[in-house]
Subunit: 707 residues, 2 copies
């Protein structure tokens, strides 16, 4: 078992947001940003709650951040020692991502001697309501010390404040802060129990939003003063059990059971790569994130596009989940995959409302889905850098492919799990409603027999309002065909069946042109054919949006992300390797990879066409997305930073389905590896149709054995 440690000893304020993301902890119920204990909302400190949303006035609806029970700083002889203001002699932040344990060590040098703070903390994966922290203070000189610690209810919000009422108090030795959201009166309660192993004078300080304890004591040189905090987060809408009495818990027991749980998870999810430590490290780091945010033990919850790293993208669920993340869960934690799909089944009513809003039939899933399928996406998602005005975008109204992605995710789950029962429990209805939705999008010219879909935004968002996006049309056909295939087991009424047969038969499916290239949408080949670099050189402002009506990419062939390439890798059996390779080579140099969903699809298709060396850098780009400084943090003037679980999931797909070549053929798993030159082998486990397998690859040979 390898150690997986992420370490940072540089203290650069420019990296505060990035560190908050890459040092993230989480347990599916909440995420804790990798900020330091003394940090506040200024440093984007947040305990981000899964699936709890609020809307403040006319602002964007977004997920809610809980009061922060980790808040702690110190005073020595009356002076505050806290980062980033008080520069340390030494500082190191670390994430043991095998166990999701965050730690920090900081030394400050004073005229009298040195101060040391060590802190370790984690979001318990064994008890999902709990956080545990162990804070150790020591000095090498005698002094008057004070540790100020408590629950900071003055939380960081993008479109807040969300707590319109707050209740602060202490009961049975524990302190608590309860916030009540304004829109739906959801309460979020953070309780904490503080245990000290030394004598001190304690006073409580309550503010409007927070509760702090001031723990004063005369510190002796070379002695360690330890504070343990056991916190509990609950909400009024929880769907699973609480943690029990926190005063009966202690750090060492909690950490032990927490590690046991993580060991179980890693036992089935770790991927060993022989010959490439960096790839192994990055891929498992990606898997760590997928494990942190998995909605384990929950009913019908899904994963936001930025995981549990904050309110960016409104904490909403995108197609990312079914397209890029679900594969990992399908093959390592099918109950989590089912929970993700249950979320879509549960939110069918929201999707039907959205379809109706646009005069369409069936289910049009939200582009940015919140609880109940509420569409969190507005008509204005980008701020123009030149005018500071909101720009009308079409993500909400024209990215029709979202419903198909959900059906695609469902079918991946069913095919790999064999769980057809889910169809009886709402999924079949969902698929039918999605099919009706695509049916209602079909139009046909007066004298044509072909159905077309006009005025759409495909996966490549830089080209808005196009006709016959090849990907979207193909996905619509996939949905029609899925219902028809399932209609053996789940009979349809005849009229619907005929409509879907007609739709499937007559929908325009783009074919390769004389050079073997499939046109992304009507007229794409007529656009200016320039390089990504040329397009980039036309930027006036580095933050300006490349897409929209007048973006630098809009009237060129430069695309944001995999579109045709995604289609080819999703329907690889429809195309020859030649066609796949031709399109990969055509589109790759024209792709900015401005979305974290892009590189993994190219990597996968490169593997499918036996080009692992082409696939490799794109796999690494995906696996390292959250490890790499300087990611894309702006959409116009809107901050879009955070973790990238779709990229993490995409890296897993590229590794397992691409390099390892694990695919289903005739209802059987097969392994046809395509390892990059430097990889000597891989091994990992996965579950398929309820049975666990171990995959062992050495050079170009793969073996799958049932465990």
């Amino acid at each position: 078992m390898m150690e997986f440690i992420l370490t940072e000893s540089e203290l650069n304020e420019d990296n505060t947001a990035w560190n908050g993301n890459r040092f993230l902890m989480g347990n599916g119920y909440f995420g804790i940003r990798g900020t330091l204990e003394e940090y506040t909302k200024k440093q984007m400190c947040a305990v981000n709650m899964a699936g709890i949303y609020d809307k403040m006035g006319n602002s964007w609806r977004e997920s809610v951040n809980a009061p922060n029970p980790l808040y702690t700083y110190i005073k020595v002889n009356g002076k505050i020692y806290a980062l980033p203001d008080e520069k340390p002699k030494f500082h190191q932040q670390e994430l043991d991502f095998r166990y999701g344990i965050h730690s920090r060590v900081t030394h400050w040098q004073t005229e009298h001697g040195n101060i040391t703070v060590v802190c370790e903390r984690f979001a318990s994966i064994a008890r999902q309501h709990n956080i545990a922290m162990k804070y150790t203070f020591s000095v090498d000189f005698d002094c008057e010390a004070e540790i100020i610690t408590g629950i900071d209810g003055d939380v960081w919000d993008i479109n807040g404040p969300h707590f319109v009422k707050m209740k602060i108090g202490s009961k049975d030795g524990a302190d608590y802060v309860t916030g009540m959201t304004g829109e739906k009166n959801i309460s979020v309660t953070v309780k904490e129990y503080i245990r000290t192993d030394f004598q001190a004078e304690q006073t409580n300080q309550n503010t409007d939003k927070s509760i702090f304890r001031h723990i004063k004591f005369s510190a002796k040189a070379e002695k360690e003063y330890i504070i343990e905090k056991i916190a509990e987060i609950t909400t009024s809408v929880d769907d699973f059990g609480t943690s029990g009495s926190i005063d009966e818990l202690n750090y060492s027991d909690l950490v032990a059971e927490h590690k046991v749980e993580w060991d179980k998870i890693w036992d089935i999810s770790e991927i060993h790569i022989d010959g490439d430590d960096e790839a192994e490290y990055s891929l498992n780091y990606s898997i760590y994130h997928l494990n942190c945010i998995a909605p384990r033990n929950m009913k019908g919850k899904s994963i936001p596009a930025r995981g549990l790293s904050g309110q960016v993208y409104k904490g909403a669920v995108f197609w990312d989940t079914e397209m890029f993340m679900i594969d990992y869960y399908i093959h390592t934690a099918p109950e989590v995959a089912k929970t993700l799909l249950q979320y879509r089944i549960d939110t069918l009513s929201g999707a039907k409302i959205k379809a109706k809003e646009y005069g369409l039939d069936g289910a049009y899933y939200a582009w940015e889905s919140q609880e109940g399928g509420y569409e969190g996406c507005s008509d204005y998602n980008v701020t123009d850098v030149f005018t500071n005005r909101p720009m009308r975008t079409y993500f909400r109204d024209k990215q029709y492919h979202v419903s198909a992605a959900i059906v695609y995710g469902l079918m991946k789950y069913i095919n790999a799990s064999g769980d057809y029962d889910i169809l009886n429990n709402g999924a079949m209805e969902m698929v039918i409603e999605c099919a009706k939705f695509y049916r209602s999008l079909l139009i046909r010219k007066a004298d044509s027999s072909l159905y077309e879909i006009h005025d759409v935004v495909g996966p490549d968002e830089y080209h808005e309002r196009v006709n016959n996006n090849a990907y979207t049309n193909r996905m619509a056909k996939f949905v029609f065909d899925t219902v028809l295939e399932l209609s053996d087991k789940y009979p349809l009424d005849n009229k619907l069946k005929e409509m879907l047969q007609d739709s499937s038969k007559n929908i325009l499916i783009k074919k390769p042109n004389e050079n073997g290239v499939i046109e992304q949408f009507d007229g794409y080949f007529k656009l200016e054919d320039v390089s990504v670099e040329t397009v980039r050189s036309r930027l006036i402002n580095p933050k300006e949006y490349w897409g929209g009506a007048y973006g630098v990419a809009s009237n060129t062939q430069v695309i944001k992300q995999a579109d045709i390439v995604a289609m080819l890798s999703m329907f690889k059996n429809d195309y020859t390797k030649d066609i796949m390779e031709t399109n990969l080579k055509y589109y790759e140099p024209r792709t900015e990879h401005g979305s974290s969903l892009s590189a993994c699809m190219y990597s996968l298709l490169a593997c499918y066409t036996n080009n692992p060396e082409i696939a490799y850098p794109m796999f690494m780009k995906s696996a390292k997305t959250d490890l790499t400084k300087g990611g894309k943090e702006w959409l116009g003037l809107i901050y879009i930073g955070g973790t990238h679980p779709a990229s993490a999931g995409g890296a897993w797909i590229a590794a397992v389905k691409g390099f390892a070549g694990i695919n289903e053929e005739h209802g059987q798993l097969v392994c046809r590896p395509n390892l990059p030159e430097k990889w000597n082998g891989m091994n990992f486990k996965l579950i398929y149709k309820g049975k666990w397998y171990s995959v062992e690859i050495k050079d170009d040979k793969g073996t799958i054995s049932m465990i």
Copy 2:
């Protein structure tokens, strides 16, 4: 007979462009901007040729300006006296728009005495190749004088230079400059004969592009020194006779025959308004412009949107001609109306090529039509004021209503002239091709029987890419119905007939909603409903474009110009007066009138609903468009100034069809006046089905008598 004189004695450099437009002369073959004799391209001096175009490199294709034969300035005792640099003691510029004679008087005061320049000039309407000028110089002190005069070939161009070769010389006492265009090798020759009535030393000065004579003499106080210039313009593509020998012509004969011609024109085109001199003056000023630019004696020529005032809008022909100008010619000079329509018949092949370019059938006429139907409009017609980048516009590709406007213009002509013969001479084929074009635009949802037209730009250009623009759909139906109605006389093949019947029957025609308002396009009522003033207040830069994807008007109900209102006034028999009035009142406050095509339509509809007082200010706005300072001169960063013949034509329509209430009912002219309070009466002549009528209105009674 009233005198119609336009005078300006202020000399304000900010008005140079505006004066160039409002003091315009023309004879249909060319226009001469109302600049002064000493002006050059710096002051936007131009002799703008009708129907001759050239494209320089990648610039926009545009009409060609001829070398300027009027160029003249003076030196006294070696010092130049020329406006605007040498400030005068007195200066007056005048246009006698009864006769299209431009004159100027300028006095300069020097330390020795006063200098006076008087100049009179005109574009001969009797001999359309000729320009005549009479330049009078006098001083009240003896001096050494020099008049420099000649042909200035260094012409003003927006996207030039167009003359890639120039030939300069003198022959038989006349000087000439010939320019040869680069794209199509069209030659434009300007010849001039200069006659002096005094002894002087003459030397010629030839440059690369120009030829000047230096006429030096010792001037005596109080004596008038007169130079007459007789110029001739010809091109290698002329389709009518030349002028004869210019050395045999003289100013007084030319001016006499010119006035006789103008008297004939005014005899049939003047409109008297009793009780409102300002309205009478402005309306006849508008008529003057329509007469200046009418392609008399020509074969298949039309009128550019900016008349012959320059290269703005590429000197191209828009729907303006058939929608707003042709009515005047139909009723005063039907042969001119026929020439305008002949231009469309002749350019059918261009329209078919354009349709094919977009994968459509039939004839899609150019949005900015040049010779042969060449589409002068580019995909980028506006420059973003914030980024200085060209903005992708959809005027070229989505303003489908242009073809229908041509059919509408044709039918107005046929109905009023009775000239069905034109249908045998190409017009029927043209109408059929337009009908095929609209057929190919029809789409229908998979489970609907209605035909729709999606992704269009209607007359209101501020809302791009909308679905089911009510105006466009109604016009498409009009074209289908026109072919079907004509099919009695001009048999169609059965398949086409059935297709058109199906199209006419099933096309979606928008109906009034519960409040009686017709929605301009799908979703218009959902747009932000704010006032024009609110929208204006959101401008950051006064030159920024209101439309496009992100313009201040784009996501509001504020529209640029008549759209529903145009439809209602064009199809007034389809609607009750209540509906017309309701829509007028709904849309008027939401209309910016940012197009000169707008106010007249509102004025007309207000007359149709018996609201002459509402109609009056909009009529005056139209009639005074070119008389009013501060018109809309910018589209983003692109200069769009010039004369506004569609506005002039619209004023005529509002006066004759609106206030005078001249309309056809059951094949008869009727007069149901709706005069504004202050008008006591009107009288004018017009031709209908080959017969001339005199219309006499006193108060609310109108009489039509055959002449």
